[in-house]
């Protein structure tokens, strides 16, 4: 059976599943239960500046009856006394010495505050520090959180302060509320951070209540931009993760992946695109710590099937397959094929192709069931019909190359080949 054992900068954990810095990791009672459930590590909810929270704090986006496809919060960093947090961190480490204990930090914006906070945290025996340069709400107005992460110069300065004091590994957590995470990532690496984690939440308004006309979450008749997370943000996180994995400077440090991870498949995808560990929050907030069971079992079973013995066998394995558009092979051509034995005649492929793509599906009227077939000569191989089809493997994409050789756009132009065959 595959081993899920993880070594992140010398921080060992029985599996790569860490709970992200958030309410599930803000106190001993939660963290002990998470460890009992099997989580490999936690990133303790951000300590630092003094805050006061409001009510309400969360809102979400539902989709076609499924709840919390996207999740949003306006909660600030830990509002519990620092001493209590430090005491509980120490106890958790003592009770579960084999688990990773990372502490998220966001000190007031001066060197002395950072140094003092780091000294106190290291004193607990914590294994690592995560710098919260990402919180997009509340703290930014005080020049902290995302306000640091959005400016590579400030980020570099703060990381330098941290590195002056830190004796344990430092992970810098990046905000996605930038046009690219790479500049801040580079600044942090150049300033000496030993690792990166991403993404933090994305600034959002989850919706407006159509009765009260007040956006969510409603705090006494007003709302504020929150941090968006959950399954909806995963694709954005994966893209940002990949840019970090592909940059020659940021690629030098290990990455802890975050953003909408709820299943072992999500985790495997993050790891294939360069994450050594993954951090989970929304899914645990929705379903509780028990989800770690399938995260571990599913990942392990998949690794067995793929022949991966340890997680380092596949971390980053998919990174090289993400390339620039102009490197793609123009001669690669696929067309859709509908399996008439599996088709349920719902017409979704037809109307999607007709109104939304390239009018490549033929409708032969029937009562009550129409017959749908692909006009292969019209099909551009866009995948849309396959994506909307509700029946598993009813529509498949069949390879029909336009030419034997690999031909990319640059070469295509160079040869002066004709455009627009449609």
């Amino acid at each position: 059976m595959a081993s899920l054992h993880t070594n992140f900068l010398g921080i060992h954990s029985p599996n790569p599943f860490w709970l992200a810095s958030a309410p599930p990791t803000d106190k001993k009672v939660n963290v002990l239960r998470a460890f009992e459930a099997g989580w490999g590590g936690v990133v303790w909810k951000t300590l630092g500046s003094q805050v006061k929270n409001v009510s309400s704090r969360y809102s979400s986006v539902n989709f076609n009856g499924a709840r919390m496809m996207g999740f949003n919060n306006i909660e600030l960093i830990s509002d519990r006394p620092l001493d209590l947090n430090l005491k509980e961190i120490r106890e958790c480490i003592r009770l579960f010495p084999d688990r990773a204990m990372i502490v998220s930090l966001m000190a007031d914006n001066d060197r002395k505050s950072w140094h003092e906070l780091i000294r106190q945290v290291e004193d607990t025996g914590a294994h690592g520090i995560e710098l919260n340069f990402g919180c997009p709400h509340g703290m930014t107005e005080r020049g902290m959180g995302a306000a640091v992460g959005q400016d590579p110069v400030i980020a570099k300065m703060v990381v330098e302060w941290v590195m002056e004091a830190a004796n344990i590994p430092v992970i810098t957590k990046l905000t996605p509320n930038v046009h690219s995470v790479v500049p801040t990532g580079r600044a942090a690496v150049e300033a000496g951070t030993q690792a990166l984690s991403l993404i933090n939440t994305i600034q959002s308004v989850t919706g407006v209540d159509l009765d009260t006309l007040i956006p969510n979450p409603n705090v006494g008749g007003k709302s504020t931009f929150g941090g968006y997370c959950g399954p909806a943000v995963k694709p954005i996180a994966l893209k940002m993760l990949t840019t970090i994995a592909q940059d020659p400077i940021t690629a030098k440090v290990p990455v802890s992946g975050i953003g909408g991870i709820g299943t072992w498949q999500d985790a495997a995808e993050f790891m294939l695109l360069g994450a050594t560990t993954v951090q989970v929050c929304t899914a645990a907030m929705k379903y509780g710590f028990r989800i770690v069971e399938d995260l571990c079992e599913g990942l392990s079973n998949w690794m067995d099937e793929k022949g991966f013995r340890q997680i380092t066998d596949f971390i980053g394995k998919s990174v090289p397959t993400l390339t620039h558009w102009e490197e793609l092979d123009i001669n690669y051509h696929i067309v859709a094929r509908i399996d008439p034995a599996k088709c349920i005649h719902c017409g979704l492929c037809y109307i999607a192709c007709e109104d939304g793509s390239h009018q490549s599906i033929r409708l032969d009227a029937g009562n009550p069931y129409n017959t749908y077939t692909i006009k292969e000569e019209e099909c551009v191989g866009c995948n849309l019909c396959k994506l909307v089809c509700p029946v598993d493997s009813c529509i498949t994409m069949v390879e029909q190359r336009k030419g034997e050789e690999y031909l990319n756009w640059k070469e295509f132009q160079h040869r002066g080949l004709p455009l627009n065959d449609h």
């Binding site: 349920i344 017409g347 979704l348």
Partner: protein
């Protein structure tokens, strides 16, 4: 063995006749099912609905909390969409065509979702329809059943003044009087009727019966057009000895009594035999059982393959404990001799039903294998025989009114055609200004078919009235 009423306690009646398909209790429950809908394009469910309700659209509207829009989508295609959600044999219509069946998954509960939207509209009396300014045309409709009401609503929306003549004391036709009470309550029928009439421009004159206090020729003189939707009514006779015995009743009358008199008042036997295997036969058998009959047996001269009722209906009868005897045709009803104390029993009472054992021969005109007598017989003990072998058109009435017909079924044009000399309108009879639809034309189909016939009739009348301007 005896035929008696008041067999059960009030709570037992209540339970036996409670809603067989209870509605969704919560919005969440409706949403779970509504969200399962795939939103098919050119949807098989819609194509399988005689009124062409845009099913995916109204279900989508439930998912977006646009219940008003959902109800409008349904009711604009089928003004009796509320009643139809309760009485339609959806297993052979919309739900039977649901593409989930092809995945061997549960079909979307379309009827239940339709009920969710329409009941709310009817209960809360949403004014979803607006009547156009009156255009000074008057149309008479005979029969306040599904086809007449559907026609009336469509015409009134266009500003035509409609008068409906109804022979019963209540409107709704077979919906009110001819369907098992556990499917649709008389109270709901009244609410639905009220909702339809709330549009305005429709007057219903009750206890006005064609051939009694009403004639087609009189109506023709007073109105710009007439729509006939008086349905069918006469139960088909068995034409066997003993049919006059006390205890032999027809299913239509039996169901009518249940709906008009209330459950406790309706007498039922200990051993009831129902002849036939259509929807009405099932409604009669199951309700006899639910009224407290000890044994109910359905006899049918063909087999399950040929039965007119749906599988779902048959299952209701079986679950109610009704016994089914296939390939059995009634031959003779036996009874006690006439007499009784002081002539109290002038005809004698049913004691037994003799049936011929049948076998299937070659297909007949209906395409189903025809039953043939084997010569063998068997006898069932019975104190009540309910005849449910179909209804007959009002042949004498139709003939007396000089209406073009085939064996009493009014003949209408089934397509709209136009030539240089004349335009034939779908729903029009050969008589100028007289239109017809529903059971009196088709001989007896579903409520939803009658509603569509009413829509067709209204469209034809509108075109006719426009042309004669």
């Amino acid at each position: 063995m005896a035929i008696t009423n008041h067999r059960l306690t009030p709570s037992a009646y209540q339970q036996n006749f409670s809603d067989i398909h209870p509605p969704f209790e919560t919005r969440d429950a409706a949403l779970v099912e509504a969200n399962r809908c795939l939103f098919c394009y050119d949807a098989p469910c819609t194509k399988s609905c005689p009124t062409g309700i845009n099913v995916p659209k109204f279900i989508k509207q439930i998912t977006t909390d646009n219940i008003k829009g959902s109800a409008y989508t349904i009711l604009s295609a089928n003004i009796m969409g509320g009643g139809c959600s309760k009485v339609c044999p959806v297993e052979k219509l919309c739900e039977g065509a649901c593409v989930y069946n092809l995945m061997d998954e549960e079909a979307i509960p379309i009827a239940k979702l339709q009920r969710w939207s329409t009941e709310k509209a009817i209960r809360e009396k949403w004014p979803l329809f607006e009547r156009k300014e009156p255009i000074g045309k008057k149309v008479a409709i005979v029969g306040a059943g599904p086809s007449g009401l559907s026609c009336a609503h469509a015409l009134s929306r266009e500003g035509i003044d409609v008068t409906i003549y109804e022979k019963e004391a209540k409107g709704g036709g077979l919906m009110t009087y001819g369907i098992a009470a556990y499917k649709i309550t008389p109270e709901f029928c009244e609410q639905e009727l009220e909702y339809i009439l709330s549009l305005g421009g429709i007057e219903v004159k009750y206890e006005q019966e064609l051939g009694k206090n009403l004639t087609v020729s009189d109506l023709r003189k007073k109105y710009d057009a007439i729509y006939l939707g008086f349905g069918v009514g006469l139960a088909r006779q068995l034409d066997i000895p003993g049919e006059e015995l006390h205890g032999v009743v027809d299913a239509i009358r039996f169901i009518y009594d249940i709906r008009s008199q209330g459950y406790p008042a309706v007498p039922v036997g200990d051993k009831v035999v129902v002849v036939g295997m259509g929807m009405t036969a099932i409604d009669a058998a199951t309700q006899a059982k639910r009224l407290g009959a000890k044994e109910v047996t359905l006899v049918y001269r063909r087999t399950e393959e040929e039965m007119p009722c749906t599988r779902t209906e048959l299952d209701i009868a079986k679950l109610d404990g009704c016994r089914i005897v296939w390939l059995a045709a009634p031959k003779e009803i036996l009874g006690t001799p006439p007499g009784g104390a002081a002539g109290s029993d002038p005809t004698g009472r049913v004691t037994q039903l003799v049936c011929s054992v049948m076998q299937l021969g070659p297909p007949d005109a209906s395409g189903r294998r025809s039953p043939a007598d084997t010569g063998q017989t068997f006898t069932l003990d019975a104190d009540m025989v309910i005849k449910a072998t179909g209804q007959m058109p009002f042949q004498a009435l139709v003939a007396a009114s000089d209406l073009p017909n085939q064996q009493g079924k009014i003949s209408i044009a089934t397509t709209t055609t136009a030539s240089s000399t004349a335009t034939t309108l779908r729903g029009a009879t050969a008589l100028k200004g007289i239109f017809a639809g529903g059971d009196c034309v088709n001989g007896g189909k579903e409520v939803v078919d009658a509603v569509q016939a009413g829509k067709d009739g209204a469209a034809a009348i509108l075109q006719y009235l426009t042309n004669i301007k």
